[in-house]
Symmetry: C2
Subunit: 313 residues, 2 copies
């Protein structure tokens, strides 16, 4: 089959993805530009935030496979061909990377390591009281593959973990409780020491982390946002940090990326800024995930990781 | 039995330990000062770096139980009564805390979080290439209870873990290899990305982390010292950092503590200074560990966690 790779890559990234995808897709032809073959011959598009309009006029298109886990920008493109199935990336290496970042941030908040790094710059030697992991409830917003992996690893270290997702149910992981709904969210927030956001960005979740939600946390809690900047109302978050109600925020994602020079987050002593580096798709394992879906498409078998386009994830 | 509590505590610490120990030792009498009972009535001393001479002239003393895991300072006291068994602290909460610190430091070195925090202060948005945990071999020096707990947790996250200890043997933990001897140490160092020190301080291990050992690491590796400052030759470590051979050092312990003002470690951009906070003994769980040894003493049963005084640990 003819497959089109379309994305907002730099040259090195495009070359890396082309190499990994071609190695995983022998017997198929990966096009790096629409000029390389007739539009009507392209059966699937493999995309990473393609420029708007990039997928228009492809009459034989039967799959849009994203290389990124988040598809909010892709689905926001009004020129995206309607009716063509969209699959998101579910990459085990990316799930592991996201869990690593969640674990690192939780350990740092739990054990005071951000505080110690701040004290170091002031030349201050001051150990703080040590709490056990079981005294530090963690709330994960989002119970998808990434939330599930992070929850299991946090629970294995002894943290009491609650996962908030659209539907409640059994977690299947010891030490992990799954809840749903607004009331359960308020109850969970009230006992949370570390709040980790791994939600998809949808009309329902945009702006969820606002003054009201932050006020429901106990004083001194920490926030870790690894999902999308638009989940957060920045002015509310800054107010909660400035008042001391929120102890610290670890932010990997922002309304505008790169985070603009001069933004208050850059120099805020209670904010750790990461350059959208919490978890990258790993080209090596992701190419194998793409190949499995392309093989299913070729065989007429069910496609994996399909997005509910109306729900937005 | 009459038990003497002797240590270099401040008043709040002494009160916390007295409370926890008395709750765990009903039926025994915990003395906070030698004046409270005749010297010949004291059967055991519960100690935390007691002042030199504090245990002299106690003819009935049958156990010196340390509240700290490290007994190098205790054994260096030439007035320590000879022939009296010395037990060190083996506290599950402390083992867990040490493993948390080792995990946090490894994740931060692996995923570039120290670099991102440095970049944040410069207002620099620059993601770096992401490696999988299985691409990051970790070498733990010391295979005691703390090393074993840390090794198991690191291996569970996918890091290839080697433990170097006095005797080689099976690790009993999947993903953890145990080695011993100088040759095996050199071989392991050559493939190590993160080196974690959890050794006891003895004449054999003092100054072990010197220019020769650091030179055996690949360029850019990280060092995490959670054991004793005297394991490290500071001038050699600073030279390895300044040359770029060593990428970063996380140091919890120092030759002099608190780390003196003006010491180069405080402001070195590749050094993270912690105020000897990697793992504190937890009074609640440690008191139960003490109580089990006191019960054994009272019953004439074998004592646990005894130190080989000639070996120094």
């Amino acid at each position: 089959m003819n497959l089109l790779l379309a994305g907002s890559f730099d040259e090195a990234e495009r070359a890396e993805w082309a190499l990994a995808l071609r190695a995983a897709l022998p017997g198929h032809c990966l096009l790096l530009s629409r000029d390389e073959a007739p539009a009507a011959s392209i059966a699937a598009a493999i995309v990473a935030n393609p420029p708007p309009g990039a997928l228009q006029g492809l009459p034989a298109l039967r799959l849009i496979q994203s290389l990124w886990a988040g598809v909010d920008r892709l689905l926001a493109d009004s020129t995206l061909p309607p009716g063509v199935p969209v699959a998101r990336m579910v990459d085990p290496a990316m799930n592991a990377a996201m869990a690593e970042t969640a674990l690192w941030a939780t350990l740092a908040l739990h054990r005071g390591f951000f505080t110690y790094q701040c004290q170091q710059r002031a030349g201050l030697w001051l150990p703080h009281a040590q709490r056990r992991a079981d005294e530090l409830p963690v709330l994960l917003l989002g119970g998808g593959q990434m939330g599930g992996t992070a929850a299991a690893r946090l629970a294995a270290l002894g943290y009491p973990v609650t996962v908030w997702r659209r539907q409640s149910g059994a977690s299947g992981t010891p030490g992990v409780q799954v809840v749903a709904g607004d009331t359960a969210l308020r109850e969970a927030l009230a006992r949370t020491r570390v709040l980790i956001n791994l939600l998809p960005l949808t009309p329902d979740t945009r702006g969820l982390i606002d003054a009201r939600l932050l006020a429901a946390l106990p004083r001194g809690a920490g926030l870790v946002n690894l999902a999308r900047g638009a989940h957060v109302i920045d002015t509310d978050l800054l107010a909660a940090l400035d008042s001391g109600h929120l102890g610290h925020a670890v932010l990997d994602v922002f309304h505008t990326e790169p985070l603009p020079a001069g933004h208050r987050y850059w120099l805020h002593p209670q904010v750790t800024v990461l350059p959208h580096a919490a978890a990258a798709t790993d080209a090596r394992s992701a190419a194998a995930v793409v190949a499995r879906n392309i093989a299913a498409l070729a065989a007429g078998a069910p496609l994996a990781n399909l997005v509910a386009r109306d729900a937005g994830y």
